[in-house]
Symmetry: C3
Subunit: 320 residues, 3 copies
């Protein structure tokens, strides 16, 4: 594996989940694989779970880890070509990425969208240039449009906790106070659509009007504006807020009740409830669910390690 | 050991000091103990000595270390239950602590008091919730009311440098330009009171009127407002500023001279002078003492490693 | 080696370059040398290449690394003696350096000049005090007046890529939008002057009027204000901006064209073009050169690891 940026970078979903669960059962079995290899984690935006779980995964594989907080330890990067750099950007991504690639065997990069310029965000210009210029395998720690380590984690978690061969999975929009990126729902949706193709799940998306995701990520999903209808028979409910894609980055007032709570849980097939965290309690998701037996959020966060570890393991096998 | 938050977490003070000094004599003897174990250090406030010494101690034990600067790398935590999280706090401590506990075998936490709300600070609400929700052993890297790694360090240092079986130890208030927490003097006092009970020291506190510490921390100590009287026959003088507990967080003008200097040193039994650092030169403590033969401040800072290492070793032995 | 602060700390330049290239050929050959040894990296200013390459070098040698961002994780240091510390500085360098020396076997320090007070900057007061008080070997990660790891890197890179026994090396001033320190050109110049003495290169400096470097760093160099004249027959062109030394920290408007581009490259002996990075594209150096076959900038940055590693190796051999 040379790149882990979207679901396209994984062929067989069952196999990668199986391999991740083998690592979970035996975390240090491959620690010679990463000996003398260095992972560089580059953060253009803050991170808690992704930082710690990826660092832990790399250490389990025997790798060295170097963390670079570009917003605090570093400087503003120029991404455009043909620009006279007489402004505020201090270094061009051509040099910055190439240099990091000299020091590291694998690089991770986190970069959030602007939520202002849809085309620029969905072009994934920064990410693509970073991949192009650094010359080593790159794992996305969340980009403008996707969060693939989260989505792989989610598939691992669903696989572990399903009671039926092909569970019904519902992605349920939820309220928030801020305009959030579409990266997590885009990514979850493209992974679940592929999982549906491969016969692993049945996938439904429920969101208020105006919150349609980009269709590139939702091919094959059942989509509804009626949350209660979607929740009928659901085995897993994935709760997440996102801002509008169409009116890019906007937040509309919504009608009806979209916070996930026990009343809505009663409609489901005793569904397990998931969230990528951080979660706004009693705004996105009720405390009664988070503190109750149906919540998977902590187990889900815990599985971030195995998602990162299987991806790093496959990359290490490639560069050996 | 499952928790290191106050002197209550240690039964026999002589034994833990002896064990720490054995580690000092042979720092890497236990490096297989921490293999494949991860220490997470969570800083809600800045740190120099605590950060470096604890990291060093963990590495001596063969542990991996992950550092999390929550104020810079992370985000604001909600600690109250029953709150709709539609404000500035991004994640509830229930999730944040639980997730960190999934990635780490032992956690360290630093969190300073507000110095505004006495009850909230002295409740140690954040710390207690962190301990409750993370599910792994927690070592305090300084909390609102205590700094136990510092106090254990101080006891180790006194043990190493005492010339008599039961030295006289004086905690001497000193001036400062800022309102400082009571954590270090509270903690030093509760450790010295227990050391006095166990026959290891004789303990006196000297401070100006209005600077009484909370009595929970000073049971058994001789307390005086007359610094010179206190210094008579002193073998160790522990210099430290703190703000008022009674008029919480306030700083009063004080009468007389409270800065420790050579003139006052002459009253003592050629006392060794201690300070937890950072120290304001020629405000809290004179340069002549800091640069002279009676200062233990650097040796004291150096001993921070062995205090941290003995605590981590005991925790590793518990979770093995 | 007890100190790596300037070219004075290295006797034979050919030998250290040879040793560095042996490390490059076999990066992990000495990993037992640094076992149980700790490198502390102290940053008073931001860093990308220096941070990552020095960390990588230390890990190659089997060392533990602790990073301390004093501007963010730490606090303001007092460097003057005889000052009552009742202002904004929180800790005196006497204590801060001594304490770091207790926790680390080798320390690295980065500190930029003020560019306001020439005498204070060129005294290297902070650096000298840090060296004096920490009590362990210190490697400069760039100081007010020098960047010796960069200069050693540059000599390694020139040695690797030279086609003649004694190449002509030109240090060429280039435009910038900000007032930059003289540390890199000072350091490059003192290393090249010594390399010239030892018969390794022929060295020329070209800069506009008013941009003379301090003569202490340029003994033996040919100096001209005519860039085109300097470039004739050049085998290596080292492009760098700096502010005025004479009118300290000032930036003058310059006459003529000083940005390095293909037209000027045509004057040279098909010179290799170097820059310490970060580089302002199409302001200091043209994109056509940076993206063309004559640029060494990425290889140069890559060599930072071997410069750091040979220095750390020599220090480890000293303290063994």
């Amino acid at each position: 594996m040379n790149k882990f940026f979207s679901v396209v970078d994984v062929d067989n979903l069952s196999e990668i989940v199986k391999e991740a669960l083998e690592l979970k059962a035996n975390p240090n079995a491959n620690e010679s694989l990463g000996k003398h290899k260095t992972l560089g984690l580059v953060f253009l935006n803050p991170s808690l779970r992704t930082r710690l779980s990826t660092q832990k995964a790399a250490m389990n594989l025997g790798m060295n880890v170097m963390v670079m907080n570009m917003d605090k330890d570093g400087w503003a990067l120029e991404t455009q070509d043909g620009v006279v750099m007489n402004g505020t950007t201090v270094e061009h991504i051509r040099e910055a990425a190439a240099v990091m690639g000299e020091y590291c065997d694998i690089l991770g990069l986190r970069s959030f969208p602007s939520l202002k310029d849809k085309e620029a965000d969905y072009n994934e210009d920064l990410f693509n240039k970073f991949i192009k210029f650094c010359g080593v395998p790159v794992v996305s720690l969340e980009s403008a449009t996707r969060h693939p380590l989260q989505s792989l984690t989610d598939l691992i978690t669903i696989t572990e906790h399903k009671n039926v061969a092909k569970p019904k999975v519902v992605l349920a929009w939820a309220p928030h106070v801020k305009a959030l990126p579409q990266a997590v729902p885009n990514s979850f949706s493209e992974w679940m659509c592929k999982a549906q193709e491969q016969g692993l799940v049945e996938f439904t998306i429920a969101h208020p009007e105006g919150y349609d995701l980009n269709e590139d990520f939702t091919q094959g999903a059942a989509i509804t504006h009626d949350l209660k209808e979607a929740l009928q028979g659901a085995d897993f409910v994935y709760v997440k807020n996102w801002s509008s894609y169409k009116e890019y980055g906007k937040v509309y007032p919504v009608e009806g009740s979209w916070m996930m709570d026990n009343e809505k849980l009663a409609i489901t097939n005793d569904a397990k409830v998931m969230h990528c965290l951080p979660v706004r309690r009693d705004l996105e998701l009720s405390s009664e669910i988070l503190d109750g037996p149906n919540s998977l959020v902590i187990k889900e966060a815990s599985n971030r390690v195995w998602a990162a570890q299987v991806v790093l393991k496959r990359m290490l096998e490639t560069i050996k």
